[in-house]
Amino acid sequence: MWFSRLLQRLFPPAPTPAALYLYLALAVVGSIVIIVALHRLLGPRGRRWLIAFVTFIAGLFFGLEYFYPVHGDPAKNFLTDWIEPVSVMLTVVGAFTVGLGIYSLLQVHGRNLAQRRPGWHNSLAFFLATFAMLVFGMWEHYLHLPQPPPEVVPWPKGIYEILFNGLFAPLQAATFSLLAFYIASAAYRAFRVRTGEAALMMAAAFIVMIGQVPVGAWLTSFIPADSPAAFFRLEMLGEWVLRWLNTPAQRGIIFGIAVGALAMSLRIWLSLERGTFFSEQS
């Protein structure tokens, strides 16, 4: 493919690590120059046009690779071999957003601390927690402990384990556990049988709730598992509700959402999306 050969001539593999770092530095500097130049040269309309163009090309690449006829074994077209490098490139670009996120966090909380805004002590806690986890997490990683780890571990690993297994994980689990209480109070307060449909829904909910736990199986354990009446065992009824009533409804929702997502994706790909956020209809 002439395009491949052209790219290989323009961007040959770096012969040494030093050359690779030089290429990377040139790429970063070059990218910054290009972005700044585009920002200054293009007005708002020009920027919108550029965004629309890049969006279109990006969507076109993957769409065309999927739809274009394929030949040979393994079946592929002229774009198939580019999927992997483009995917890797997108992964690298995506990794930059992690840096953007960290920068945004530092900026927001740094401002809170510097200006002593209300709640600044929370921002201080954020910095302490972030740097503690960062320092000890990386320290633990670069200890390169043997597998399995020894009985007595170095103290940085001990601190890391305290921070991770002793603080972070239990805090997450505890917050998630609040949901159990909220579900109980929300269900008690909100579920009232006001109509026939609500009664049906309530019956289905009770069957599934009880059928999903051992109590349900115990309550109807008097029905032999291999008898024709086994269908009326609560765990079987619950399974039936989930597989034969719930599944078609879920399928319908999935299809509806998929078509809605297709339409929205199409609008964004073709830059047709209108409204207060995207652009005004002229």
Partner: protein, 285 residues
């Protein structure tokens, strides 16, 4: 803005302060943790599907266990992962752990795998491995389909995966015999079905939190998933099948009676509502 104070019995029944509801639930949980009423656990068809899928993997293929969960769902996904790991070890199947989001999952799963490996005398790198957290979602899967060592790079400990003994001969997705998705996150299954199971017919099984399992029954029904563990119940069932009763069984004792309490509260609320309607009024909680 608070609701008017309840005056009649039916109003009081409908408006039990939520603090008492929380206390009742907490009481049931503590009661069952301290004095469990053990009830038999019978594996369901979806759970049997997971076990059978693991057992059916050819000996020369790997199982991927994706651990896309973190500490928040650990009560369900932790025992699920542990039970799947036991099933792999008992059936002498080699497996790897990986995840796409969030990063914590591989660390938590690695702890579980090490604990189980000690019991079976399994060796890291030979019988199991941990590919670690890989950033990139669909891009990782697309790259893995074509070239696993390149896509994965280093394992959880920073060692190139190609150097691990169990990775010898593993080139692309055709070397994978089963993917078990253990997750508390939406959208993971759709990625694996769309990019791996659909194009390459790689068998998939899954383990979900109870709240998200209902939306994946269509995939079970259409055989895109060979089996499914539903929440702590599925984990308890698989623990029973591998004869390693653990946390999930204890959780099911608690969950059983918590469900009974919630149903009782709903019935109580509706009783109050019916009384109020009978009196000619309707209480809005």
């Amino acid at each position: 803005m608070s609701a008017p104070q309840p005056t009649t019995l039916s109003d009081r029944i409908q408006q039990i302060p939520r603090h008492y509801v929380y206390l009742l639930l907490a009481g049931v949980v503590v009661w069952q943790l301290l004095f469990p009423i053990r009830l038999p656990i019978t594996p369901s068809v979806p759970t049997r599907g997971v076990y059978d899928a693991v057992a059916a993997v050819p000996d020369d293929k790997l199982i991927i266990i994706t651990t896309d969960w973190d500490a928040s769902t650990q009560a369900e996904t932790g025992p699920q992962t542990q039970a799947v790991i036991h099933a792999c070890f008992q059936n002498h199947k080699k497996f790897v752990i990986m995840n796409l989001q969030p990063p914590m999952g591989v660390k938590l799963a690695q702890d579980l795998a090490q604990e189980a490996a000690a019991e079976y005398g399994a060796v890291y790198g030979v019988d199991y491995a941990n590919w670690g957290y890989k950033y990139g979602y669909e891009n990782v899967l697309m790259a893995m389909a074509k070239n696993i060592p390149n896509a994965i790079g280093d394992d959880f400990y920073g060692k190139p995966v190609g150097e691990l003994p169990l990775m010898q001969g593993v080139e692309d997705i055709h070397a994978i015999g089963l993917v078990v998705i253990v997750t508390g996150l939406s959208a993971m299954t759709e990625m694996w079905v769309g990019l791996i199971q659909g194009p390459y017919n790689t068998p998939l099984a899954a383990a979900y939190t109870a709240v998200m399992a209902p939306i994946y029954y269509p995939y079970l029904d259409s055989d895109q998933l060979k089996g499914m563990l539903v929440g702590a119940k599925g984990a308890a069932e698989l623990e029973a099948m591998v004869d390693r009763p653990g946390k999930a069984v204890a959780i099911m004792n608690v969950q059983s009676w918590a469900h009974v309490l919630i149903i009782a509260l709903i019935l109580l609320g509706n009783l109050g509502y019916l009384f109020a309607r009978g009196r000619g009024g309707e209480r809005q909680p």
